[in-house]
Symmetry: C2
C-alpha cells in the first residue's frame, strides 16, 4: 500500500524541501510566504504531514522532512524537471515559461510515465535552468556552483545553473545573451554597487547588477 499524497500535500513538502536548503528547520511564516497562503493554513497542513510521517515537527519550532518525506519530495522534483526539459527541448518553450506549466504536470504521478519520459528525453542530468534531475530512486547529484558575483577579474567561467525560476530573471538573462553553457569573462567590478561588466559568449559586453550576478551560478572554464 503506497501512501497517497494529494497535490496540495505535494506542494507543501516540495516547498519544505527547498526551504530546508537554507540549513535551518522550516518555520511556519516562511512556508506560508513560499506557498502564498496563511500561517494558519500551514499549521493545519503541517499536522497532517506529521501524521503521514512525511515531516518532523515541534510546535513553535519548525519542521524538517523525514527520510520518506525527502524521497517523496525528490520524486516530485524529478517529475517537475523532466517536464521542464520536455517543454523546453521538445516543445520549444522559452525557459521563462516552463516552470509554471511544470508546476501542474509534476502532480501526474504515474511512475511508468515518468520513467518512459526520462528515456524519451535521453536521461538528461540537468533541467533547462541547470538544476540536477533526481533519479527514479530519489537520488540527486549535489553540485555546488560558485556565484558569478564572487568571481575573479579576467577569469573565464561557464554558466552552469540559474538560482531562480522567476520569469523576470530569465527574461533579463535572455536580453544579455546569457544561458546555460555561456562562457563569461568578468571585465570590471564597480566598487560602488558591486555591479559587473562582463563579456558573454566571447561577444556581448554587458553590465550585470549585484543582485543578478548572485543568481548566475558558474564553474571555471577549461
Amino acid at each position: 500500500m503506497t501512501l497517497n499524497i494529494s497535490s496540495t500535500e505535494q506542494n507543501y513538502i516540495k516547498a519544505i524541501y527547498h526551504l530546508e536548503q537554507n540549513g535551518r528547520p522550516v518555520n511556519t511564516n516562511d512556508l506560508a510566504a513560499q506557498l502564498a497562503t496563511t500561517p494558519a493554513s500551514v499549521t493545519d497542513m503541517i499536522k497532517k504531514l506529521k501524521q503521514k510521517k512525511l515531516i518532523n515537527y515541534k510546535a513553535y519550532y519548525g519542521c524538517t522532512l523525514t527520510e520518506n518525506g525527502r524521497k517523496q519530495s525528490l520524486l516530485i522534483i524529478r517529475r517537475h524537471r523532466l517536464w521542464e526539459y520536455f517543454l523546453s527541448k521538445k516543445l520549444g518553450f522559452n525557459w521563462d515559461a516552463i516552470h509554471e506549466i511544470a508546476e501542474e504536470l509534476e502532480h501526474v504521478s504515474n511512475t511508468e510515465l515518468i520513467n518512459k519520459l526520462d528515456a524519451f528525453l535521453g536521461y538528461p542530468k540537468v533541467d533547462p535552468h541547470g538544476d540536477p534531475i533526481p533519479d527514479a530512486n530519489g537520488n540527486i547529484a549535489t553540485i555546488e556552483h560558485a556565484v558569478l558575483g564572487g568571481g575573479t577579474l579576467g577569469k573565464r567561467y561557464v554558466v552552469a545553473q540559474i538560482g531562480s525560476q522567476l520569469p523576470a530573471v530569465l527574461e533579463l538573462l535572455d536580453q544579455k545573451h546569457i544561458k546555460i553553457g555561456t562562457i563569461i569573462e568578468i571585465k570590471k567590478r564597480f566598487d560602488f554597487d558591486q555591479s559587473l561588466e562582463i563579456k558573454a559568449g566571447n561577444k556581448h559586453i554587458t553590465q550585470i547588477s549585484k543582485e543578478l550576478s548572485q543568481h548566475i551560478l558558474v564553474k571555471e572554464h577549461e
Copy 2:
C-alpha cells in the same frame, strides 16, 4: 475573464458529452454510473454546471450541454487525445495503458502547451484508438464508421476506430493481431451466437464474439 472549470467539473461535462452521443438528454443515474459516483452527487453538481451555463437542465428530465459547454468538453477531449497520441507514439506505451494516464494529463489546461504539443506531434487527426482529435477551436470531424459485426461475408474492411477504451477489449484485440489499419476479411458468421470467423492482416484466422465485433469500427477496403 475566462470561466474556470475545475477538474471535477471537467470530468462531468466530458461524461455528459459522451453520453449525449446516444441522442437522448443525459439522465442522472447514467451519469452517476459513468462517473462512478452517486445520483445525489450528480444532482448537486448538475446545479452548479447549470449556474455556470455549461449545461441545460430540467429537474426529473435530464441535461444537455450548452454551446459553450460543448466547446469546453471538446477542448478537454482534444487534450486527452493529444496526450494519448504522445504516450503511444512518442513514449511507446501500449494502447491499453494510455487512456488512464490521459485522464490525468487532460486537466492541465494551458492552451499554448496543447497547441505546441499538437505541432510537435505533427497535427494528428485521430488518436491511437481511431477517435478524431478536435482542433483548437473545439471543432471535431464527424466520422461515422460501420460496425464490423454488421459486415458482409467475403468483403474486406479496414479497422478505423475502436468503440471502447477498456483495457480488456484492447488486450483482446492485441491477442488477435487487430489494430488501427488492419485489413479484415469476414470468412464466416455463425448463426447461433453471431460470432465471426475472420482473417486479420491477410494472415491470422480468429474468432470474434458478437460483443467484440460491435466494438470494432471499420471502413470498406479500397
